[in-house]
Amino acid sequence: MNFTLKIWRQKDAKSKGGFETYKVSNISPDTSFLEMLDILNNDLVHEGKEPVAFDHDCREGICGMCSLHINGHAHGPSQAVTTCQMYMRKFKDGSTITIEPWRSAAFPVIKDLVVNRGAYDEILQAGGYVSVRTNSVPDGNAIPIPKADADESMDAAACVGCGACAATCKNGSAMLFVAARVSSLAKLPQGRVEGARRAKAMVAKMDELGFGNCTNTGACQAQCPKQISIAHIARLNREFLAAKFQD
């Protein structure tokens, strides 16, 4: 297969970026999207040019490191996969593919397709945990948890923190990301103890970092590689309002 690639190149955070066009040829349909970029990069190195910088690590769809807007879609046109789990057979032979970094004010570009997602760490540091000390805990089976609750908690916990939700949202909102963590812990008795404090602290931090508001368009859910449901946003809102009433 052959492709024309329009890729965003940007030297560093301070420089102005722009698109450049490249060609790749003889790509097997079984090649992954990122392997296709590896092939391009190896060619660029041989030509003495700087390869395209992009984030990636596990290439199994779980670390959340890879990103990329591909033809206008976060993680590409396929549903429910990260960029690293997309294969070239999903693209039309001979087509042009446009590749951009996340576009979100809260995720500034570091270089080419690499962005800084430190804001997500900061939100979790504001309260995305249960305050237990190492070794100061009861037996694992001391608190039975209904299977349905544990399963729902797990659904939310599948979030990989890739940033696709905020990068996709027209308001640049991180609500789905925040909701995933708040909701996962809210479904478990261990997490309930600090539920009110957590919801308020994480929402406050999200606002402080310049993420936008949620207007329920559902774009985040559609682009989420882990199919996190916006039902979790409803639970976050409930948690947040309940916490505010307690004040």
């Binding site: 097997s28 003495g48 779980i62 190492t134 544990a150």
Partner: protein, 648 residues
């Protein structure tokens, strides 16, 4: 000068050793902890849990990772589960049985006392993770569920769908975030350790490169903990993350830390086969699939041919024409034999010509029987995400046709030598998790890597590091304005300059792929004296080529991925040789290390306990100089070593 190896294994009954040791070692008072600095490199299960626990205790912790967030470390990709001796299933599990299975699984090449301690603290890990809000799988009664893993006849594996590593890491990362918020831990993402600084014979800090700006920074501390995982990417293709590397561990080795059993590599039996020469990464299919999946190849070569040509589908092969070779060879454990045994059995069938894809390097993992027995829905609930992933990658629906799998490099049991306190041969330098060598012997059982990472980080290191730091309470802040730091920084900068100035013809990946081929062909699943000597000669030649012909584009003072890869390849090119040397020295087969000259009549690994019941610990002598080996004899006080038997 040979290394001095004192394992510091406590005296006494096996079950009392850890308690006795904890009672005997020193502690540091809260007021003094505030004065002590600890550097932790790596934020996987080991690093994150250690950083969180040490921060909680009151130490000042700095934690480094190469990714953009601590949450990305490769522990996150572990799928199947974590072992613990809870005996919640009432199937007669116990601390002793977990200990015994682990040491037997490791083919009797691990240290008894360490393995027992691992089994002993395993139960605390589950309690800890549950309290953190890790959403483990549960039964309808609300209590924790278990499943089985290779090398065990009990169900002791706790899991969170196919994402156990992710959930455990998010738990440890959350604990870490709590401490970052409290100010006791400072996080340094996108920073790579490029050297360890040793002064007056003690670890005093690290030299790190800021991967965004290229700046070289000095960081001092009273103790340094290496938690950077394994070095499987020396093979280029592995199931490790692209960024996983052996460089931090190798710098420790260069600076005098002993490196133990480097040849012990785990080749995981259930990975998606290689599809071509352009591949960058191999994908694991969880071992948990062997709970319900049956592994087979056709009995008849003509069926193999027909499947390769596409004239027959695997589902067309009649039951009596299928060779379920693991069930045939190992009736007692069947498809759940340990990984090394399953991998070698797959190789044996493929070598005999029964490989089921075009390359001849694949076998089937089939869910037909399980779907008939349990229904598609149940299988979907258990393994749905893995089946989806498989279909996404291969374009084959595993509910209808069996998966194709083949062994691939997955984990390294070898690593930095540590004593019972997890301290290396350099005082003040610790190694935890996959980065050390201590608990898995010559083969790691499934669901035990997560267990070890968290055991070391939550429950072992926080105690044992206090024993060393209690001697440092009068020590001032470590100054980085010393000749040792200056020298280390200079050496790092010179290496970078050299790499950027060669301007040869081959890219870093070109050379890394060649190294990977040498390793896979000669230091892979079956090794011989001849293949290992070939490997050593070829790696030495390739190393020379690298230093004269590599092309590294970009600059030192910018975000430069090619430079990062080149720096890591420098170490792989020496590490590969060290692995081959160790494999050459070990004239026996054990666990993942299979020397073709040493096998039983039916092709099983043949150990030579009279000659090789030791850990081989290597000391660096220079890039092109033979390293020196010192033995840590593994005394088995409590366990009788036997030929591993998974047949009856």
């Amino acid at each position: 000068m040979a290394l001095k190896l004192d394992s510091k294994t406590p005296a006494g009954e096996l079950s009392q050793k850890w308690s006795n040791h904890k009672a005997a070692i020193k502690v540091v008072s809260p007021a003094n902890k505030r004065k002590l600095d600890i550097i932790i490199v790596g934020t996987g299960l080991g690093g994150a849990s250690a950083a969180a626990s040490l921060g909680e205790l009151g130490y000042n912790v700095k934690v480094f990772c190469i990714q953009d967030s601590p949450r990305r470390a490769h522990s996150i990709a572990a799928q199947g589960g974590i072992n613990a001796a809870k005996n919640y299933q009432n199937d007669n599990d116990s601390v002793y049985r977990l200990f015994y299975d682990t040491i037997k699984g490791g083919d009797y090449r691990a240290r008894e006392a360490n393995v027992y301690r691992l089994a002993e603290v395993s139960n605390l890990i589950i309690d800890q993770c549950v309290a953190q809000g890790v959403p483990f799988a549960r039964e309808y009664g609300g209590l924790l569920a278990n499943r089985s893993f290779g090398g065990a006849q009990v169900s002791r594996t706790f899991y969170a769908r196919g994402q156990t590593g992710q959930q455990l890491l998010l738990g440890a990362y959350a604990a870490l975030n709590k401490e970052i918020a409290a100010g006791s831990v400072k996080s340094y993402p996108r920073q790579e350790m490029l050297d360890i600084v040793v002064e007056d014979g003690e670890a005093k800090g690290i030299i790190a490169r800021n991967l965004v700006t290229g700046e070289i920074e000095r960081h001092g501390a009273h103790a340094v903990v290496i938690a950077t995982g394994g070095y499987g990417n020396v093979f280029f293709l592995s199931t490790n993350a692209m960024g996983s590397n052996g460089s931090a561990a190798f710098q420790c080795y260069r600076k005098g830390a002993g490196f133990a059993n480097p040849c012990f590599t785990q080749i995981h039996p259930t990975c998606i086969p290689i599809h071509g020469t352009q591949q960058s990464k191999l994908t694991l299919m969880s071992e948990s699939l062997r709970n319900d999946g049956r592994i087979w190849v056709p009995k008849k070569l003509e069926d193999v041919e027909a499947i390769r040509k596409g004239t027959k589908m695997p589902s067309d092969i009649a039951e009596e024409d299928r060779d379920y070779y693991l069930e045939r060879r190992y009736p007692a454990f069947g498809n759940l034999v340990p990984r090394d045994v399953a991998s070698r059995a797959a190789k044996e069938r493929c070598d005999a010509g029964f490989g089921v894809n075009e390359t001849g390097l694949a076998v089937f993992l089939d869910f037909k029987t399980a779907i008939e027995r349990l229904g598609k829905e149940t299988i979907k609930q258990r393994y749905g995400n893995l089946f989806d992933m498989y279909e996404e990658i291969t374009d084959v629906n595993p509910y209808e046709q069996p998966m194709q799998i083949f062994p691939a490099v997955h984990y390294t049991m070898g690593g930095i030598w540590v004593d019972y306190n997890l301290m290396t041969t350099i005082p003040g330098l610790y190694a935890i998790g996959e980065a050390n060598f201590s608990d898995h012997g010559a083969n790691r059982l499934g669901a035990s890597a997560l267990m070890q990472g968290l055991a070391d980080g939550y429950f072992v290191l926080p105690y044992t590091i206090g024993d060393y730091l209690s001697k440092k309470i009068q020590a001032p802040k470590v100054s980085t304005d010393t000749p040792a730091f200056a020298e280390a920084e200079k050496a790092v900068k010179e290496k970078i300059e050299k790499l950027l100035s060669i301007n040869g013809k081959q890219s870093v990946d070109d050379i890394h792929k060649r190294l990977g081929n040498i390793m896979w062909n000669n230091v892979g699943m079956a090794r011989t004296k001849e293949s290992l000597e070939t490997a050593i000669a070829e790696i030495q030649a390739l190393r020379k080529e690298f230093w004269s012909d590599v092309k590294v584009v970009g600059t030192a003072d910018s975000f430069n991925v090619e430079l990062e890869k080149a720096i890591r390849l420098v170490d792989y090119l020496e590490l590969g040789e060290l692995m081959a040397r160790d494999a050459l020295n070990r004239e026996e087969s054990c666990g993942g290390h299979f020397r073709s000259e040493h096998q039983t009549e039916d092709g099983e690994a043949l150990r030579h306990d009279d000659k090789f019941a030791y850990a081989a610990v290597w000391e660096y002598k220079g890039m092109d100089v033979e390293p020196e080996m010192t033995k840590e004899v593994l005394d088995y006080e409590f366990i009788h070593r036997a030929q591993r038997n998974y047949k009856d």
